[in-house]
């Protein structure tokens, strides 16, 4: 249904929005920004000064106020924070606005975002703070174009993030749930529009059991997402190169210098290893791929294909070349793979006798531009320079701007899973009370829209499509 609510009107102006405003990564302090008419109420519900909640109107504006932040109604605080209150229209967005300065860990920030959402806010869309600022006359004309670019860029980043998170298996899970939801919805909807068709009655006990199962599985999906196991954040950096150029050594060298955020683990396919590291305060996930080369070996070819997928999703590719061996056809192969991707070329093993020059490489692989960095994974020489280049090319360059931090991707999924779960639960309650299908469909459509949004799909005519393929409709 067919006709889901018009999704595109998502940037709902009257609603209160919340997001992390500082760069993603592991800084000491993070800022969560909250804007909209509900801001006073949310602050009053979550923030305590000297052990009691404070009326928004009594908070001195534009002043740092020390206090405790907690989930509405919860006894234990999430964190000790500083709050700055801004009154409309004298704020960045022109609306009632609060900035919460909290400790920088991901867990704390996520918990604060959740508390705001629980109290009535929703997560901001890409560029939404800036959009509101502009529309409320808080920015001049010259800034407007920048805002558009920012929205476009962060949308692209969010899209890629979503894709990446989904490839990790969430996608299949959510897709399967969505399919099942469509199936149940089609069973119910078919009896509404096709009363005089020869399609028989719905199997009530099966639909009831299925709705119940969906609630449980959506719950489980939410919990999995909350644990953050699926969603890895920060820049995604793929290490590739032909076999034996020192890819694993490089990963080990980087891991040895930095704090590992996620224990290295083998990927689903042969020879893909991921490792999330805190590189100078930025979270970066390194993926060590299988060597790419032409191979008749079936298993190895799977690894090569996995590597290609990783390259397509990467923010940056590190192309590792062995300085101590002559360049050959296997290196040339990478020329074709990397043409369209942002690449840093790394000349590894410079502690050994060099066999080629930058010119040799340019001639062999003319498609791949980008700097050529010298390093030795074995001795550690050149790693500082590599890290600086990574920061410059990811966080300093094209990572989404702070307020749309990648963190949002994950929370947005969880919120949509929650929305879907609550809607299916309402439909289930109505179903067991024998409420007529058209009422249930309001909730089932809401759930379907939420799951579709996670997958970046449009709901379109999914339910009608299913009805026509499942039932022989048409007198």
């Amino acid at each position: 249904m067919t006709n889901p609510r018009p999704q595109t009107l998502d940037p709902r102006p009257s609603e209160t929005i919340v997001a992390r405003a500082t760069a993603p990564g592991q800084g000491a302090i993070a800022i969560v920004r909250l804007s909209g008419a509900l801001t006073p109420r949310i602050v009053e519900a979550c923030f305590q000064r000297n052990g009691k909640s404070a009326a928004w109107s009594e908070l001195p504006p534009r002043t740092m106020i020390l206090g405790l932040w907690s989930e509405p109604g919860a006894a234990a605080p999430i964190d000790e924070v500083q709050l700055a209150a801004y009154r409309a229209p004298n704020s960045y967005t022109g609306e009632e606005l609060g900035e919460i300065f909290c400790h920088g860990g991901r867990v704390v920030v996520e918990a604060i975002l959740h508390s705001c959402i629980a109290a009535g806010a929703r997560l901001a869309e890409p560029g939404e703070f800036s959009r509101r600022a502009y529309l409320n006359g808080r920015m001049d004309l010259a800034q407007a174009e920048a805002v558009c670019d920012l929205i476009a860029a962060s949308t692209e980043a969010a899209r890629r993030l979503a894709l990446r998170q989904l490839r990790g298996g969430v996608s299949r899970a959510v897709e399967a749930l969505r399919e099942r939801l469509i199936l149940s919805a089609a069973e119910i909807e078919a009896r509404l529009d096709f009363d005089d068709e020869d399609i028989g009655a719905a199997d009530r006990s099966r639909i009831q059991a299925e709705l119940k199962a969906l609630i449980a599985e959506l719950d489980a999906a939410m919990q999995r997402s909350s644990r953050g196991r699926i969603a890895r954040e920060g820049a995604r950096i793929v290490i590739c190169g032909k076999p034996n150029t020192g890819k694993s050594s490089l990963l080990n060298a980087l891991a040895g210098r930095e704090r590992a955020l996620v224990t290295p683990h083998a990927g689903t396919t042969r020879d893909t290893i991921e490792c999330s590291l805190d590189v100078r305060g930025f979270e970066m996930t390194f993926i060590d791929t299988a060597g790419i080369r032409d191979t008749p070996d079936e298993v190895e070819r799977l690894g090569v294909n996995a590597a290609r997928r990783e390259i397509a999703d990467a923010d940056i590719v590190l192309w590792l070349l062995d300085a101590s061996q002559p360049l050959d056809d296997d290196d040339r192969l990478l020329n074709n793979e990397l043409g369209a991707v942002k690449t840093l070329r790394l000349r590894n093993k410079i502690d050994l006798e060099p066999q080629w020059t930058a010119e040799t490489l340019d001639a062999l692989a003319p498609e791949v531009a980008g700097p050529l960095l010298e390093l030795s994974a074995r001795t550690g020489q050149g790693l500082d320079r590599l890290e600086a280049a990574l920061i410059e090319h990811t966080a300093g360059g094209e990572l989404p701007p702070a307020e749309e931090g990648l963190l949002a991707g994950n929370i947005r999924h969880i919120e949509r899973l929650r929305q879907a779960r609550d809607a299916v639960a309402r439909a289930y309650d109505a179903y067991i009370q024998n409420v007529s299908g058209e009422f249930l469909m309001i909730d089932l459509n809401e759930a379907l829209a939420a799951l579709s949004a996670i997958l970046g799909l449009e709901t379109g005519e999914a339910i009608l499509d299913r009805i026509f393929s499942r039932f022989c409709i048409g007198k």
Partner: protein, 628 residues
């Protein structure tokens, strides 16, 4: 034969054309209805029936606006059935079998009532375009007819081609010629045209059917009319019969697919999935042991029967074999053979919300030419196009219903916003505000508009007003009057089996109980016998479903500001920085009139909408930036 000049020419006399011509004339325009055959005006080419889920809502909306389809159906219906009576009011709808001959005669007579409507026979073979505007049509005879606006409602006739098995002939309907030339003229005018197909079953002789082995289906004992203007149905009611296909039928059909133009690729046009041919059903649903067939009389005294469920494009000889394999039809005599028809349509993404083409001002399209199917959908569009053609001629604001106001609004928006792969049919599932857009409240939603447009007669409007006053006044009284259970008569309560009445509250709360009716309120002395039965039902619905109604209304309010934010027509999407390429392409193709419409275009995402809003603000084209 013709006056020198008309204000509006309607080309085509089907359900869209008839409704369009009547509306244009009644709004005061000198109108010409040009058709290939004046005696075939409002002919039911396929199913002799009006209404059904989603479709009836359109008929009732037409009726409230002053259209004629509801009255025509009431006057000529020979079997009325209310669908979904055990479900909620939003998905209940009437459907009637019509006497198709009475129906077309009724409409033809209705059209004769309006002095400024001329009905003429002739074939339009081309558009006249002057200074980029449509200013009339050229006839096959060489004559030119001038007008200030042209409404095309060509149905299946535009370059129509009929298929009987692998044979095909030009034609718009059985034994009727196609309209040739006009399609080419549309293409020359810069419109993209494509092909669709649909089909119809054979017609069988009434007396050749053995009804004794068929199941009987009677209509409702008390038929409920479509139109709020009809008091009761006076036409004598007749039953339909039901039979089924069987394994032998399927065997014959599946063994003949090499002679089907659909399966051999001879027909390129796309047909509707919800109205498949019997060969389609047999192929796609191989496991289904039998398919249901309704034997619907085409009229009270007509000799022909429409076997609903076996439309086909198989050759005549195969049709005879498979039909006669069906129980009850062993000796069936054929009056007509089934056939498929392919025709030209104009993808409606090329229309403005008024159904005027974007490319050719003054040219309006309605009905199957807009890739729809169904008499009701066609009639709704005919009325919509005519109203807007007239308003535009007068220099007045267009009248475009919104998705939250009417199924007509849903259909208009769907047609001009999204690409459709198959003929578009209305379903209640298409309306996101389904619970608000009910048959029972179509008059409350639209009669004011019908009167303002000059389509609803004063007498009818007065009738509506009385109904509305009863509904509003009584609902208000029930909501504000407190009742104490202790004051109610114990015997009556016992007789009504009303239990667990403990707390005092508004009478409305009592009426909201599932076991209550307004009639029970009257018995308890809490209601008034003066309230008409129709108003009683409306009051019950509004009170009983108040929670759901409020929820949908809140949803509408939440989107209202963005929904109605207009996008000026001077916008150049190439200039809007930050749009994705896909969005830019789609926005250019559709050229939405509002942010709401833009948001429904597949491929346009929320970020694109943000970018668009900022662009509009920069150009000072945002209506009320404070509210966004």
């Amino acid at each position: 034969m013709f006056a020198d000049r008309y204000e509006i020419i309607v080309v085509g006399g089907g359900h869209a054309g008839a409704e369009a011509a009547a509306a244009a004339a009644r709004m005061g325009c000198q109108t010409l209805l040009l058709t290939l055959d004046v005696d075939a005006i409002a002919r039911m080419s396929c199913n002799p029936a009006i209404g059904g889920l989603g479709k009836s809502q359109i008929v009732l909306e037409l009726d409230a606006l002053g259209g004629m389809m509801g009255m025509a159906a009431d006057a000529t219906g020979i079997q009325f059935r209310q669908l979904n009576t055990r479900k909620g009011p939003a998905v209940q709808a009437p459907r009637c079998q019509s006497d198709k001959w009475d129906y077309e005669r009724w409409v033809q007579a209705y059209l004769r009532r309006w002095p400024n409507l001329t009905v003429a026979q002739g074939e339009a073979t081309g558009l006249i375009i002057e200074s980029c505007r449509a200013t009339g049509v050229r006839l096959k005879t060489g004559e030119s007819l001038k007008a200030r606006a042209v409404i095309l409602t060509t149905g299946t006739f535009l370059d129509g081609k009929l298929h009987f098995g692998m044979e095909s002939v030009q034609g718009g309907r059985i034994d009727e010629p196609a309209a040739i030339g006009l399609g080419e003229s549309l293409r020359e005018a810069g419109l993209e045209i494509r092909r669709l197909k649909t089909g119809t079953p054979a017609r069988l002789h009434r007396d050749s059917i053995d009804y004794s082995v068929c199941e009987v289906q009677h209509g409702d004992p008390e038929p409920v009319p479509f139109s709020f203007r009809t008091d009761r149905i006076d036409v004598e009611q007749v039953p339909c019969h039901i039979t089924h296909t069987n394994a032998r039928t399927h065997e014959i059909i599946l063994g003949s697919l090499d002679q089907s133009p659909l399966f051999t690729g001879k027909i390129e046009g796309v047909g509707p999935r919800y109205c498949p041919s019997i060969e389609d059903k047999c192929v796609r649903f191989k496991d289904k042991e039998r398919h249901q067939i309704f034997l619907e009389p085409e009229g009270r005294n007509a000799g022909s029967v429409y076997p609903n469920g076996i439309s086909t494009s198989l050759p005549r000889e195969v049709q005879e074999r498979y039909v006669r394999s069906i129980h009850g039809l062993e000796n069936a005599r054929f009056l007509r053979y089934g056939y498929a028809v392919e025709y030209t349509y104009v993808p409606p993404i090329q229309l403005k919300p008024t159904f005027e083409t974007k490319t050719v001002p003054g040219l309006y399209l309605a009905g199957q030419i807009n890739a729809t199917t169904g008499y009701e959908e066609a009639a709704g569009q005919g009325l919509h196009a005519a109203i807007n053609a007239v308003l535009t001629l007068r220099g007045e604001e267009p009248f475009v219903l919104k998705r939250n106001e009417a199924y007509l609004g849903v259909m208009i928006d769907d047609l001009i916003t999204k690409e459709h792969r198959e003929p578009y049919r209305m379903f209640t599932a298409r309306a996101e505000y389904r619970l608000l857009l009910r048959c029972d409240n179509a008059d409350l939603r639209l009669c004011e508009d019908g009167r303002r447009l000059g389509l609803l007669e004063e007498e009818q409007y007065a009738r509506f007003q009385r109904h509305r006053e009863q509904v509003e006044g009584e609902t208000q009284r029930l909501r504000t009057t407190i009742v104490r259970p202790s004051e109610l008569d114990r015997d009556t309560l016992a007789r009504l089996e009303l239990k667990n009445l403990e707390n005092s509250g508004a009478i409305a709360q009592l009426l909201a109980r599932p076991d209550m009716t307004y009639e029970a309120l009257i018995e308890l002395g809490l209601g008034s016998g003066e309230i008409e039965p129709r108003a009683r039902r409306q009051i019950e619905i509004q009170i009983r479903y108040a929670g759901y109604i409020a929820r949908q209304q809140a949803e509408i309010d939440r989107h209202a500001a963005l929904e109605s934010q207009p996008i000026p027509d001077w916008i150049d999407y190439a200039e809007v920085r930050g749009l994705t390429n896909e969005a830019r392409e789609k926005l250019n193709a559709v050229r939405p009139v509002s942010i709401g419409q833009a948001g429904r275009i597949p491929g346009v995402n929320p970020a694109d909408i943000s970018v668009l809003l900022i662009f509009l603000k920069r150009r000072n084209a945002l209506r009320s930036p404070e509210s966004l």
